[in-house]
Amino acid sequence: MKSGARIVVESLQREGVDTIFGYPGGVVLPIYDELYDSPIRHILVRHEQAAAHAADGYARASGRVGVCLATSGPGACNLVTGIANAYMDSVPIVAITGQVPTSLLGNDAFQESDITGITMPITKHNYLVKRTSELGRIVREAFYIARTGRPGPVLIDIPKDVSTNQVREEGAIPEEITLRGFQPTFKGHAKQIAKAVELIEEAERPVIYAGGGIIFSEASAELLELAELTGMPVTTTLMGLGAIPCDHPLNLGMLGMHGTEYANYAVTESDLLLAVGVRFDDRVTGKVQSFAPHASIIHIDIDPAEIGKNRKVDVPIVGDAKTVLRVIINQVKKGAPKDAWLSKIREWKERHSLRYEEGDGLKPQYIIQQLSSLLKGEGIIVSEVGQNQMWTAQYYCFRRPRSWLTSGGLGTMGYGFPASIGAHFARPEEIVFDIAGDGSFQMNIQELGTVAQYRIPVKVAILNNMYLGMVRQWQELFYNRRYSYTELPPIDFAKIAAAYGIDGMCVESREEVVPALKAAIETEGPFIIDFRIEREENVFPMVPAGAAINEMLRGQRR
């Protein structure tokens, strides 16, 4: 005989899970007891939200399913933001929560919350397990659903008696599962692909618009091959950074609200937009009616619901990005000459390159650039949300997929620090840098405790402007500089780090930047740098909300 808790832990092992992130409590005690002598490593976080973000960071960095574990009620509810974040960015995580015993379900028992009800709109699927005999099958299904097709979070809610009840060993974990309602399409439709090939060959001003789908389907090599084969320039979304090396001549950088001017101009003037693994998000398209107004649109995505959702497309292709791109590469010829188009793009690139004004103060863009050249685009860069995120997206030179983890869809402040913990356990050989703001960092600052406990060698670069910088920027530009509740007091983050036994330093001048970054890189353990940046530095270019993406603010001095 075998307990439900034993089945859970053995099922995790069977799925190849080596690390989970969690926080114990009453009704998950049976599972924690099984973990006590299991080979699975459990990382104790300081708040369940961090467990979910760490599982997310682990998944994004590794391509495997991340796992988090929490108790019922408050524990489960604290996971919610992390699950929603993973849902918006299509990250495969399995969240396991304890639940009150089945006899008490629905009774408002101590630490009871209806977490399957709460997470229904933010999970790909969820389960409330009623019988121990179902547990093995459900865990298998959960992992399969989380990682297959468009990835996403799956939650399994396990009442305490389901964990403690015993069932017979045989068949407790089934070999085969049946999912009638879940059959993603991987191969693109041959006729649609033929149409796409024809459009690609005819196009004179094409642009590839590539997103997170390229990263998740491991299609970077195919993307690059197709771009080089046809001479199509590539712009990526925030989620797609790293899909093509930043310094590749065909790379246009990021498009959209804080994208490069040349990417936005190229999309606006294109006659063909090949959209792959993207969802025409409002932060990308700006005013959607003016987005790529002259272009035929080919949209490749594994999720049929994304095709035609925000923008009418000419050639819809439902399928896996890697598979479909491979077929296109095999069929496509070089096509129409693009010399005029590419030279126009080169000209835009020269005339409208990313730039910032040097001044007396410490410039955040300079810090990112220095980090980028010190790490040569290597390492795993994680960001928080806001100005820190956009400066990193603009000025860090990403060269590989899965080297950039950021909260794109939900925009979760506090994501970066715990996600970088997850990234470390996914790829311990890599250096992990969290680029933070002082606001964002304080949203999950308690994880200094986790980092200290396990000596997790993540480095945090806080771009400290004593403001909620992005909100302040909007107040400056659109609310007549009325800085309503966006100013933060000075915090000495190095001192806070010291209290946890973590090394850190404060940097106030340009000359100190490189030595500080070097110190962080060379220190074996965790390291915190508190960069006191120019307080009112803005992120430019910027497309104001509701404007077309070629109508950008360029940041003339005030």
């Binding site: 229904m120 298998r140 299904e141 049946t178």
Partner: protein, 172 residues
């Protein structure tokens, strides 16, 4: 904007109705009616959902429904030949005398059954397509409808066509 009839085959699991209803709510789709019950396959249910929207909204509704793991098959059967039925129970004022006679005559014309007779009211049971029930409801209104309940439409395609999906095994 027009009414579409969707036939949706779902796994008969706890929460499946909440998943479908929640999807309609959060994506802002309007449900005109929803009827659900067991069907020919064990462990499955069939939903008939009447939803109002334009073509692109309907496309989204179907695609989003298909993403739910418990939803096995979604078919828009608006344009196909179908048998559609709805059941209504209507409690209507019918004072003994000429009113009651008139009400019963109407019931007769609509092939409705009188299933309860009270001192001042009768309850009639009527089945038919939505327009037939609408018509009866409208006619009865002048006598005073005290209570009314409709099941919402259920529908099946005519002939051999069926809304079904094949079984697929997964070795995860």
């Amino acid at each position: 904007m027009r009414a579409h009839t969707l036939s949706v085959l779902v796994e008969n699991k706890p929460g499946v109705l909440a998943r479908v209803a929640g999807l309609f709510r959060r994506r802002g789709f309007n449900i005109e009616s929803l009827a659900v019950g067991t069907c020919e396959e064990p462990n499955m249910s069939r939903m008939t959902i009447v939803v109002i929207g334009d073509e692109s909204q309907l496309e989204q509704v179907q695609k989003q429904l298909n993403k739910l793991i418990d939803v096995v098959k979604v078919s828009d059967i608006t344009e196909t030949e179908t048998v559609e039925r709805e059941l209504a129970l209507i409690k209507v004022s019918a004072e003994p005398g000429s009113t009651r006679a008139e009400v019963m005559q109407l019931a007769n014309i609509f092939r409705a059954q009188i299933v309860d007779v009270g001192a001042k009211t009768v309850i009639m049971e009527v089945t038919g397509d939505t327009t037939k029930i609408d018509a009866l409801e409208k006619l009865l209104r002048q006598y005073g409808i005290k209570e009314l309940i409709r099941t919402g439409k259920i529908a099946l395609q005519r002939g051999a066509k069926i809304v079904k999906s094949t079984k697929e095994r997964v070795s995860a």
